[in-house]
């Protein structure tokens, strides 16, 4: 099935793309996709532990199953707001 992966900030720089359409097996989970993408993009491996994932703009647990056409965002550690 096809899903859309989106990369932001540091991860866009590391992967060289902001959006990719990926072919994945049916019923793959969030954790499964994370494993696949970090395998396909070794430069992400050092970041795997701090990487957060969102499915269709909502944070998703690792065991959540993906559906065709889902949009999965790969989010670096957040640094919005203010340090003030």
């Amino acid at each position: 099935m096809k899903i859309k992966a989106r990369f932001f900030a540091l991860y866009r720089e590391l992967t060289g793309s902001s959006e990719l359409e990926l072919e994945v097996e049916e019923g793959i989970t969030v954790a499964g996709l994370k494993e696949k993408v970090t395998r396909d993009f070794p430069q992400l491996q050092g970041h795997a532990h701090s990487l957060m994932m969102a499915v269709n703009s909502e944070y998703a647990a690792p065991d959540v199953k993906l559906s065709p056409g889902d949009e999965i965002a790969f989010l670096p550690p957040l640094s919005g707001g203010s340090r003030g």
Binding site: F8, A9, S57, G80, G81
Partner: protein, 127 residues
């Protein structure tokens, strides 16, 4: 009212969003780009947002405030793009009948934003 935008944020405009007769207090947080940072002189910042999810999470913060303090008058505006030192990156205004709720809810919003809103900051230093 929540907003993530490239346009400059004017605190008084954000405050006007929350002003109502029933409110006796408005607490406003203004976050600005500071220098130095990490011991280095900052030239400018670049903020990036996952806009759709970001605004959804800002609305969630407003709902959490509404549920916890029964306050409906909350405005959160975060700026993205390139910002120079001293420019305003974030304005949060919370209005309430009494100051205690307004201070607590505004502090909550500032802290909560860092936890859940998908925004990233890149600091560019003078080498």
């Amino acid at each position: 009212m929540v907003e993530i935008s490239e346009d400059p944020i004017h605190p008084e405009r954000v405050i006007r969003e929350v002003e109502r007769e029933a409110n006796g207090a408005v607490v406003t947080f203004v976050g600005t780009v500071r220098s130095p940072s990490q011991g280095k002189e900052v030239l400018y910042l670049e903020y990036e947002a996952f806009k759709e999810m970001g605004e959804r999470k800002l609305r969630q913060i407003a709902q959490e405030i509404s549920a916890r303090w029964q306050l409906a008058d909350v405005a959160i505006c975060h700026r993205v793009g390139r910002l120079g030192v001293g420019e305003t990156s974030l304005v949060i205004a919370v209005a309430a009948p009494h100051r205690q709720q307004a201070f607590e809810a505004c502090q909550y919003a500032v802290d909560r934003l860092k936890q859940i809103v998908p925004i990233w900051k890149k600091e560019i230093y003078r080498e």
